[in-house]
Amino acid sequence: MKHFVIVAILVAISTLLVKAGLNVARLLPVEASAQAVPIDRLFGVHMWLISFLFSLIVVFMLYSIVVFRRKPGETGEGKHVEGNTKLEVFWTIVPLVTVLVVATMGADALKQTLAVDPQAMIVKVTARQWSWSFEYPDYNVTSTSLYLPVNKQILLQMQSEDVIHGFWVPEFRVKQDVLPGTTKELRVTPTVIGQYKVRCSVLCGTSHALMEQPVVVQSEADFQAWIAAQQNIANASPADRGKKWAAENGCAACHSVDGSRIVGPTWKGLYGSVVQFEDGTTATADDAYLKAFILNPNAKQVKGYALNIMPANFRDKLTDDQINDIIEYIKSLK
């Protein structure tokens, strides 16, 4: 059966070539978490399997197409073989065993990604259309960028304010959907200092594509310095504080500060301008107007914009002081 020998050699060569090709191609982003290690190792196993099985089938096929093609003028039919029960049993049992082995490796890899560190630092993550905010209960700090100390396990406790979102930092590998009405957890242990992005992984509406925010992994010392700076925010100016509250409550997802239109009107030049409504009336955007509008966005429809998009729950989410800070911030955007 010289055909078999030739094909076997070709399959082996092809497997190695394909796997080498997969190695050389830049396939995955940098591996930047402890959870990524078992995952990337499992990917390696899969790539071997893919290289081998692809080679096995395609080499046999290509060989047949070349060697067993009907040459011009040739008559006759193929070799009259109906089957081979031993072969059938073999290629049922071997894949079955392989599947069970790979599944067990998968279960083990999953277990490793779920390893619990009881000293993990808790970060509360809130998702909404279309932004993230992060809260560090241990430090009484809130932020719109996820700052994390390297080599420490973080326990993310996540909830959505509206629809299903998904928390994903590609370099950390692991992913978790974020649901309304219930808290879902994800553990990540960043291992490489650097700048990454959290990207919402579940289609959540209009600006799903833009729901990306910075993730900054720092040394423990730098992280503590950042925490300290955040805790001093009370000493910042009202406009600076207002900028922070606006970012953390998702205003920036719809209101630009540079004059462009995202979903709602831009805040640049908003303060003091004349606002036109769909019913033909007008108003001046002063402190009283802005406050009333934030508390009750659907009372009147602004010309050119739809109702029922701006959340109507800021009266519950923001304190009076925070709203005043935000108005100061808007004032500063000329």
Binding site: H3, L28, P29, I39, L42, H46, I50, L53, V58, F60, M61, S64, I65, F68, R69, R70, G76, E77, G78, K79, H80, V81, E82, G83, L87, E88, W91, V99, V102, A103, G106, A109, L110, Q112, T113, V163, I164, G166, P170, R173, K175, Q176, D177, L179, P180, G181, T182, K184, K197, R199, S201, V202, L203, C204, G205, T206, S207, H208, A209, L210
Partner: protein, 683 residues
């Protein structure tokens, strides 16, 4: 007072609705001629093309649908006025309007006329006679009970829907060709990707129905499907379904993707409801078509065709039909529940009312995973059916291949939650579903190894159908191999909702359906029309589509691995994937062009194709022992099975079926296979 009003409306509403519908339908049924009652004209000249189109069932149905939509809206307005509500409730009016429109459509076509006549105690002829004064193409826009006509109607509809969905893809892939383009606004983009998905799914369901309906009666020796009127209904209901589905784009669209997860789908624009209704209607076609197929394959085979002497495509079709019949209800149910949440405030998936969005995901995927096996099992059956013909060698391990379709269908019901590994469902579910998911590889592997076993030491020939068969195998291989990384949970935590998944399912869909579908059309076109499709254009179609599809597939998997998410209208330039995205877009355009070449080939060859009335592929299969095009009632008499279906290369040569059995042929008429005896009216 309001409570009384609501109760009255709840009781009166359906009664009024039913009464109006019944009255209109009885009136319509008396107006719509059943074909047999038309006189056969003496003159040779037929009506003009315009007249043929305007009096066709299709146009009648569309007109009726418009009327029905207005009636439905009117009913809602009427009820709301009675309740003292503002008359025009946008969403309820649109939903009821769409439903009543669809009902009027199906009545207007005449597809249900015979059933109404039976309900009124009237007799109808068993078979509708063909009107001889109409052009040949007229029967495809009218109601026919002939499975061959219905099969072609299904197939042409599938191609049209493929073109529409492909067009949507051209649009949004243009937007994605470079990062941060602003050609399409995000809400429109989200609607286009969602519609691309669902219209393609509808196209595949309808294409699968086309293949099964055309071929299975011919393969088992029947003159038609078990329930011809049900068959006609199953086809015609897809038309209003598809129209309503696509209408969503004009009614605000929907921003959820084809998976329609709540809470987002509960607050999506009105287009979401049109999406739900369109799918619901097409689902009926699947359920009823599946029923019809099972009865046909189980009860209407010629005697002598024992299960392991059936053509392999019948095995695949049976496995597919079992899924169609039993799983489709779940997507209809899950969509209905979101629809009721929107219309009536029921809190199934609303955490604020004690509901759970994950429940939707379970209900939805319980159908939508087995659905993918509906999509691929027929195509894999086509591959198994055609390979022996072009390799001149038996199908290797026929019995194992036959059983593997059932193995895939069965295991396919046990894996749905692998779509939900990151969903936040109960933790303990993840590992068991991983095991069941990986298990599907075993029967699928049997198919691949059997195909290789069939080719090995064969005598291979490469006309266009064979090219698409081989292409299908390789593409389905890539798709299948990109599956296990999704199945092992830990790696899926990375891959879920990325473009790797998009690459995975496009490869499995193209390999399992698109390529085999084209193979089947190139292969059976001569049987249906008596002409061959152009080999040159066919090869051009293949050699454009195949490399382009590889670029698209590997590109999609590549950008997914690098961090590209699904369903985003623009992407971060920092990902460094702009070049790959451009390649993917260009590849998509090349595929689209190759399909246009195919469509041109289709219509050009109807008039100018090489005449081919005999057994052009030297196939053993029964339908190829008939002349082409297939006679109206298929076989004059039941054929006798005297050999194995795939006994190519036997020395001395054998035959599978004898279409003209002699005196020792089939038994006396009283025990003829039911497919041959005109059944009493009432089927």
């Amino acid at each position: 007072m309001q409570l009384v009003g609501i109760v009255l409306a709840a009781l009166l509403g359906p009664i009024v609705l039913a009464a109006v519908i019944a009255a209109v339908m009885v009136w319509l049924s008396s107006q719509v001629p059943s074909a047999a009652s038309l006189p056969v004209p003496k003159a040779a000249a037929g009506p003009s093309v315009e007249k043929v189109i305007l009096t066709s069932a299709l146009v009648r149905g569309l007109g009726a649908q418009i009327v029905g939509t207005v009636v439905g809206i009117g009913i809602v307005v009427g009820i709301r006025v009675m309740l003292g509500l503002p008359p025009f409730g946008y969403e309820p009016a649109a939903v009821v309007g769409a439903f009543v429109g669809a009902i009027f459509f199906i009545v207007g076509t005449g597809a249900v006329t015979d059933w109404f006549k039976w309900a009124l105690g009237e007799e109808t002829p068993e078979q509708h006679e063909e009107k001889t004064n109409l052009p040949v193409w007229a029967k495809y826009i009218n109601v026919s009970l002939d499975h061959k006509v219905i099969g072609i109607q299904y197939t042409l509809t599938a191609i049209v829907l493929m073109g529409i969905a492909g067009g949507f893809a051209m649009a949004f892939r243009t937007q994605l060709a470079q990062s941060q383009l602003k050609l399409i606004l995000p809400d429109m983009f989200n609607t286009l990707v969602g519609l691309h998905g669902m219209v393609m799914i509808a196209s595949i369901l309808i294409g699968v129905a086309g293949l099964m309906n055309y071929l299975v009666p011919l393969l088992v020796g029947a003159t038609d499907m078990a329930f011809p009127r049900l068959n006609a209904f199953s086809y015609w209901i897809t038309v209003p379904g598809a129209l309503i589905l696509v209408s969503s784009i004009f009614l605000g669209g929907f921003n959820t993707g084809w998976t329609a997860y709540p809470p987002l789908s509960a607050r999506a624009p009105l287009g979401m409801q049109m999406f739900f209704i369109g799918v619901w209607l097409v689902g009926w076609s699947s359920i009823l078509g599946g029923l019809n197929l099972i009865v046909t394959a189980v009860r209407m085979r010629v005697s002598g065709m024992t299960p392991f002497k059936m053509p392999i495509f019948v095995w695949s079709s049976l496995a597919t039909a079992l899924i169609m019949l039993t799983a489709t209800q779940l997507i209809g149910l899950s969509f209905q529940m979101v629809s009721f949440q929107r219309l009536f405030g029921m809190g199934f998936f609303d955490p604020g009312k004690g509901g759970n969005p994950i429940l939707f995901e379970h209900l939805f995927w319980f159908y939508s995973h087995p659905a993918v096996y509906i999509f691929v099992l027929p195509g894999l059956g086509i591959i198994s059916e055609l390979l022996p013909v072009f390799v001149r060698k038996p199908l290797f391990g026929y019995k194992w291949v036959a059983m593997s379709s059932f193995g895939i269908a069965l295991v396919g019901f046990l894996v749905w939650a692998h779509h939900m590994f990151t969903s936040g469902m109960d933790e303990y579910l993840r590992v068991p579903f991983m095991y069941s998911t990986l298990l599907v590889a075993v029967p699928t592997g049997v198919k691949f190894f059997s195909w290789v076993g069939t080719m090995w030491q064969g005598k291979l020939e490469f006309p266009t159908p064979m090219l698409f068969v081989l292409g299908g195998i390789v593409v389905f291989l890539i798709g299948g191999l990109s599956g296990p990384p999704n199945g092992t949970v830990a790696t899926d935590l990375y891959l879920h909702d990325t473009y790797w998944i998009v690459g995975h399912f496009h490869a499995t869909m193209f390999g399992g359906f698109v390529f085999p579908f084209f193979a089947a059309v190139y292969y059976w076109f001569p049987k249906a029309t008596g002409r061959k499709l152009s080999e040159t254009l066919g090869k051009l179609h293949f050699w454009l589509m195949m490399p382009a599809f590889w670029v698209q597939s590997l590109g999609q998997m590549g950008v997914g691995l690098l961090g590209m998410r699904r369903r985003i209208y623009t992407y971060d330039p920092a990902l460094g994937i702009d070049t790959l995205q451009l390649f993917i877009t260009i590849a998509g355009f090349v595929i689209f062009i190759s399909v246009l070449i195919f469509v041109y080939n289709l219509f050009h060859s109807l008039k100018h194709g090489e005449v081919a009335v005999g057994n052009v592929w030297r196939s053993r299969s029964p339908e190829w022992q008939l002349a082409s095009p297939v006679p109206a009632h298929n076989y004059d008499r039941p054929f006798r099975v005297i050999g194995e279906p795939y006994d190519y290369g036997a020395e001395p040569a054998t035959v599978y079926v004898d279409l003209n059995p002699g005196p020792l042929g089939p038994e006396a008429p009283s025990s003829m296979p039911s497919g041959m005896v005109p059944a009493p009216a009432g089927k």
